[in-house]
């Protein structure tokens, strides 16, 4: 298996993502970890809620992994996304990439997180002191 796609209501594991992409033929692994910030645009955030159109999100995450494996010289990729309620500092997303060389690993990892944020049907609601907001919904 060269790709590992998961959506989970439980805490994501950095070690598990990293172990998936490890291989004796790799010299480089790039990892992105998204974390819940305590503020957005200067407003305090108390928690986040993530909702997914899970079956389609899994398809889109698989597309991203396939495209990354096709476009860059990488050997393995893991994309894990969490759903449900997350407190400050918790991890909504981990992307790990293994490759012979580091440049491809970084490129693929950035491509994957950029494209995930653009395409994958997952939505984030922020709990601010001023109320709840679905991120990016309105101009």
């Amino acid at each position: 298996m060269i790709k590992n796609i998961e959506i989970s209501a439980d805490s994501l594991s950095l070690q598990r993502c990293r172990d998936f992409v490890n291989s004796p033929a790799n010299g480089a692994e790039a990892v992105f970890i998204g974390t819940v910030r305590n503020a957005t645009n200067g407003q305090a955030v108390s928690k986040l809620f993530f909702e997914a159109y899970e079956s389609m999100a899994i398809k889109e995450m698989n597309l991203i992994a396939d495209q990354a494996l096709h476009s860059f010289r990488i050997s393995k990729i893991a994309i894990h996304h969490r759903i449900g309620e997350l407190g400050i500092g918790e991890i909504p997303v981990i992307i790990a990439v293994g490759s012979a060389h580091r440049k491809a690993a970084f490129q693929a990892c950035q491509y994957a997180i950029d494209t995930l944020k653009e395409k994958v049907p997952i939505w984030k609601k922020e709990y601010l002191t001023s109320g709840e907001v679905w991120v990016s919904a309105h101009p």
């Binding site: 389609m56 999100a57 997303v93 395409k119 049907p121 939505w123 679905w134 990016s136």
Partner: protein
């Protein structure tokens, strides 16, 4: 046909799922105008993509009674 709602579209429409007749709605474009007429707040969103059977669909795509349609407001994962 079944129309699934997510994120803010679920709050606007007030249901996780609605059913429309495939006789009256035969394309994605037509679906858009029916929905925005019925729920004007949908037109205030930054964007509203439509997925048909879990694939992003252009306005020209034709719809059948058995299709599963989903409303995709601006995504914000990650």
């Amino acid at each position: 046909m079944k129309v699934l709602t997510f994120g803010i579209t679920r709050e606007i429409i007030g249901a996780a799922e609605i059913t429309l007749s495939g006789n009256s709605v035969t394309s994605v474009e037509q679906l858009r105008s029916v929905l925005t007429e019925r729920y004007p707040k949908l037109s205030q969103l930054n964007s509203l993509a439509i997925a048909v059977n879990e694939v992003y669909a252009n306005d020209e795509i034709q719809l059948n009674e058995e299709d599963v349609v989903a409303l995709i407001p601006p995504v914000s994962g990650g």
